[in-house]
């Protein structure tokens, strides 16, 4: 295995595992604010207890997010030193801002939210929930700005020795790629939060326990889910997709498995990309749809991979194709399930419709898969570039760190994270089993 591959796997593995946690933190942060707001306005104690229950799950999730997040900031330097040296003046900026503007806010108010309910007024406790939510979303913003610059570099100047400097701070922060990706990504986090909340509600109802809380969870989860699953496709996914198509045409061709440029290109619902024969095996295609989605007309030509030199094709083509299709396929299922649930909720039938409750319960892992697949689409689509069009991935890893040393720590992380995943599951399951009611009371 080459050092380049090891360093890529190292970052990919640790960031993929890491992002399982923040997506729930960011989604749940918003939903906890909803719970606290209702509690504050109605004075209903069960909404407060519901908020406290999700606060406990949030706290577990937050700690796992923190401890798996610290390695990410280190790995820019440890594993991607040559990249960091040249780009630090640009992307070091949003990364440092994340620490300064978000982490202090988030950790301070989370401490108050979790430990301070007795020491704070009701309004201050609500306020601390809002600040925790805000902190997590600010954090997401700066990370997206960082990634957006690698996807679509703006507002930079390249110096004679090859390193990059910022020309405009505001253009860096307001990179259009970043804004679109942020909207899409945060909506994705709300999808995860909504599904998790709805699933716990469905679980309690199916078990025949804690009806009161189950109904709160299902209401908030399904309404949040209906709004966010629609928004993930339209407008955020739609706009982001069109922007990618204009700025990274090779990535779109790879995502769609479009080997040859086509007028009136169809969308492949299923099929396996075959790099050897340069076609899709066993395709199920809907004609003209891709041209329409990107350009708004069925007659437009969509560039295929044949338009690009081979050394500019995305390097993991089949994985890119599958990631995108898994994301899009699951997204479709989310909308269908959440709209049906919302309709039943509105008609007052959701709590009795067992098959929908089962579907909600069993679907909770799917947003995690979809969010992960979405990120894989973005990052694999960027390949073979580390900074799109400017620096190749092969030019960025730490060449002082040998493949052997890299593999040693990659294996270490794999072992450590296997353990963490197990512990996390046990802890969250125990909280769910214990439920939102005060100790010793079973509703």
């Amino acid at each position: 295995m080459s050092a380049e591959l090891i360093h890529r796997l190292h970052f990919a593995f640790t960031v993929t595992f890491h992002y399982l946690f923040p997506q729930l933190t960011m989604g749940l942060g918003l939903l906890i604010v909803v719970l606290k707001t209702v509690a504050l306005r109605t004075g209903d104690a069960s909404w407060d207890r519901a908020a406290r229950f999700w606060g406990r799950i949030f706290a577990i999730n937050f700690v796992f997010g923190v401890v798996t997040g610290i390695p990410m900031e280190f790995e820019f330097g440890t594993n991607w030193a040559r990249f960091s040296r040249l780009s630090g003046g640009v992307i070091g900026q949003p990364l440092a801002m994340e620490g300064v503007f978000s982490f202090f806010l988030e950790s301070a108010f989370l401490g108050l939210f979790l430990y301070g309910e007795k020491r704070l007024s009701k309004t201050m406790h609500w306020f601390s929930a809002v600040m925790v939510w805000l902190g997590s979303w600010i954090s997401g913003f700066f990370i997206i700005v960082t990634d957006a610059w690698m996807q679509h570099p703006v507002a930079y100047e390249r110096m004679p020795d090859g390193h990059f400097e910022v020309l405009s701070f505001w253009q860096l922060l307001l990179n259009p790629w970043g804004l679109l990706q942020y909207a899409h990504n945060m909506t994705g986090a709300v999808v995860t939060g909504s599904f998790v909340m709805a699933a716990v509600g469905a679980f309690y109802l199916l078990e025949g326990k804690r009806r009161e809380y189950a109904e709160i969870f299902l209401k908030v989860g399904v309404i949040g889910g209906a709004v966010s699953t629609v928004m993930i496709i339209f407008p955020t996914g739609d706009l982001h997709g069109k922007y990618v198509a204009r700025n990274q045409p090779a990535a779109i061709a790879g995502m769609e498995g479009l080997f040859k440029s086509t007028t009136g290109a169809g969308i492949v619902l299923m099929g396996q990309p075959n790099e050897e024969t340069q076609q899709i095996d066993n395709p199920i295609v809907v004609n003209d749809v891709l041209s329409f989605l990107i350009y708004g007309t069925t007659k437009a030509e969509v560039k295929g991979l044949d338009q690009f030199p081979r050394d500019q094709w995305p390097t993991a083509l089949p994985l890119l194709y599958y990631s995108y299709h898994i994301m899009a396929g699951l997204g479709t299922w989310f909308v269908a399930l959440m709209l049906v649930s919302a309709l039943l909720l509105w008609r007052g039938k959701l709590f009795k419709t067992r098959w929908v409750l089962w579907a909600l319960l069993l679907s909770f892992p799917l947003p995690y898969i979809a969010n992960t697949a979405g990120w894989m689409t973005a990052e694999l689509g960027r390949q073979p570039w580390l900074i799109y069009g400017l620096m190749r991935t092969s030019e960025g890893y730490s060449d002082m760190v040998s493949a052997g040393n890299g593999l040693f720590t990659l294996l270490g992380f794999m072992g450590m994270y296997a353990l963490l995943g197990l512990l996390f599951t046990v802890l969250v399951y125990r909280e769910i089993a214990r439920g939102p009611e005060p100790k010793g009371v079973l509703a």
Binding site: G77, R85, G88, V90, G111
Partner: protein, 346 residues
Amino acid sequence: MMGFIWFWLVAVMIVGYVVLDGFDLGVGVLHLFLARNEAERSVTLRSIGPVWDGNEVWLLAGGGTLYFAFPLLYASAFSGFYLPLMIVLWLLILRGISLELRNHLEMGVWQSLLDGVFGLASALLTIFYGAALANVIRGVPLQTNGYFFLPLWTTWTPGPQPGILDWYTVIGGLVALVALTLHGALWLVLKTEGELEARARSLVKPLWIALLVLTVVSLIATIAIRPSGLDNYNHYPVTYIVPAGVVASLALILFWNRNGSPLKAFLASCVYLFFMLAGACWALYPTLLPATGGPANDITLDRALSGQHTLAVGLAWWIFGMALAATYVVFVYSRFKGKVEMGAGH
């Protein structure tokens, strides 16, 4: 000018991290020995519960600031110290998770395991941090391209091809272990009551004596390893106030601890850590990372600094952001001020 400012801003972040996370690391080392039963252990750990992850944020914010102000230093040091940094990451993970888990698992045998992991990870982290600083002071085998790679150990002797660990860096590790354990003990005196407080207070003196000895040994060893470290001091004799501050704060720790002023004793310990680190920074300035092969390959301030526009813009948001951050930190500590109550869960 920008170089001077950012050098000290990064130094402030590092000092902030060591002073704040330092006491909760120290509490981590101590809780194994101090707490005799579950109630005491719970109080000990709850004294750091609301603040420890906020304290760790200083490491992240400091790392980020280093990254954008001195990209070359960040790239070179992080890849060169690859193995110890990865070990630090694993220890930070183990430490955070074991502390969090213990709030959720009520089974005795698991708690003993978690307490052990928490204590051991805390102790090892202090040693690694001390050794890291000692590595920077001793220097690393930088090549002309600004990179290096250090194995964990070679011959255990400082020289042109050293390892992370040698006799000098091990001394640095021990200084940090004892200094932060003392720091944690002073925190516990401040935050706990009754027998626990008395036990923590009785530990201060032996730890203080050990720290005094180690401080002297490390100063002598540092002058032996890096005689040029005195140049800045001799050039600006007024800066001998820094070592004087080390001595004075050390004395005040003991004085105020005896005097029954735990808050002042704890603050003296913060000042001690500040002067120790500031003294090391000043000894190196304007070098950021010295090369063992001679000063030609040193990473200096000018060589590592980002562009002027980047730094000027950075200064604007940094001051604004850190002012906000300082407000939160003060607010949180004021909300949780006073002794931790026995028996009240969170």
